[in-house]
């Protein structure tokens, strides 16, 4: 069953929204922090926390720059992040098909043992 586990870094409401948002953009594009915040409907502090975890995993990159004189933070998904997300979707789909054909088996595939 181990290979059916869903990536716990992605499989939470907040981070799933963040990853879906960033991977929906054309490749090579980033979002400014406020725009991302509006799209995922998170508080700034909450979003920062989740972004830090995704950044540590190498799934997103947070680029701090300047727009004129105003500091501006931009967030984009990395190639590794895109791969992880595609992987996540494939497993999610496999789980849904399995539960649709075999009936409920109670496996949600969530594993928070990586908590730190």
């Amino acid at each position: 069953m181990g290979e059916e586990l869903l990536d716990p870094l992605i499989h939470t409401q907040a981070r799933l929204r963040i990853m879906t948002t960033l991977t929906s953009l054309p490749r090579g594009d980033r979002l400014t922090f406020p725009r991302l915040q509006a799209l995922v409907e998170a508080s700034a502090g909450n979003l920062s926390t989740h972004l830090r975890r995704l950044e540590e995993a190498g799934y997103v990159e947070v680029v701090k720059g300047h727009q004129g004189r105003v500091p501006s933070t931009q967030v984009g998904v990395t190639d590794a992040g895109r791969r992880a997300f595609d992987d996540y979707l494939a497993r999610l789909r496999a789980l849904l098909t399995a539960s649709a054909t075999a009936g409920p088996d109670g496996a949600t595939g969530t594993d928070d043992s990586q908590e730190n």
Binding site: Q13, L16, T20, L25, D29, L39, N46, L95, L96, D112
Partner: protein
């Protein structure tokens, strides 16, 4: 949003679908808006020019007034385009945003040449008929060529086809000559854009239906 709670797979799939739709609806440029605005401007603008330029005008409007209305409609479509793109691309940075901005400036500079050409032709003593004809042909040439270039770059057959239809309409319009050239552009240009907007609307409804 809370957060570390485990999701079940159904909830995960629902979040992905909803969030994708939301990002698409708020950051992607909507071709229905752009084709709709320009299609309407051309259909009405060129239509009015045609109606006013006939030997026995269909509407009691001076040709100069019709021309002013035409440019006002084009300017309105330009404003709709600029506002729409600015709203959708707010906060989006990187490759596609830069690509879109460069493409947009290409349109703007191209039309600056069209405007300057009209001015230069008048100064050189060209008749109003010649000026109208050249303005119409060059601006439509630019639109058709840029649509085809955009369609090629973004791998969009429908955008390329629209550019091709507009370009062929321009050839027909030039062969036909004034005043009926205006009618050709009204239907072949504006009509084609409205059809493109309609096709896109249909495609989206069908995609949602599944």
């Amino acid at each position: 949003m809370d957060d570390e709670r485990p999701l079940d797979p159904e909830a995960g799939a629902a979040i992905v679908e909803a969030q994708r739709a939301r990002v698409e609806a708020s950051t992607a440029v909507d071709p229905r808006v752009l084709f709709g605005a320009w299609g309407l401007a051309w259909l009405l603008g060129f239509g009015l020019l045609w109606a006013a330029a006939l030997d026995e005008p269909l509407v009691p409007v001076d040709l100069g007034v019709a021309l002013a209305v035409f440019f006002a409609l084009l300017a309105a479509a330009g404003v709709v385009t600029a506002v729409h793109i600015a709203t959708r691309s707010r906060g989006v940075r990187g490759m596609s945003a830069r690509q879109g901005a460069l493409y947009g400036w290409g349109w703007f500079l191209g039309f600056a040449v069209v405007g300057a050409l009209a001015h230069a032709l008048r100064r050189a003593g060209a008749s109003e008929d010649v000026v109208s004809l050249v303005m119409m042909a060059t601006s439509v040439l630019l639109v058709g060529a840029l649509y085809m270039a955009g369609g090629a770059l973004w791998d969009s057959i429908s955008q390329w086809a629209l550019g091709a239809v507009i370009t062929v309409s321009t050839v027909v319009a030039l062969v036909v000559g004034l005043p009926h050239a205006y009618l050709v552009m009204s239907l072949g240009g504006g009509g084609a854009m409205l059809v493109a907007a309609g096709v896109e609307a249909l495609r989206r409804r069908r995609a949602r239906g599944h």
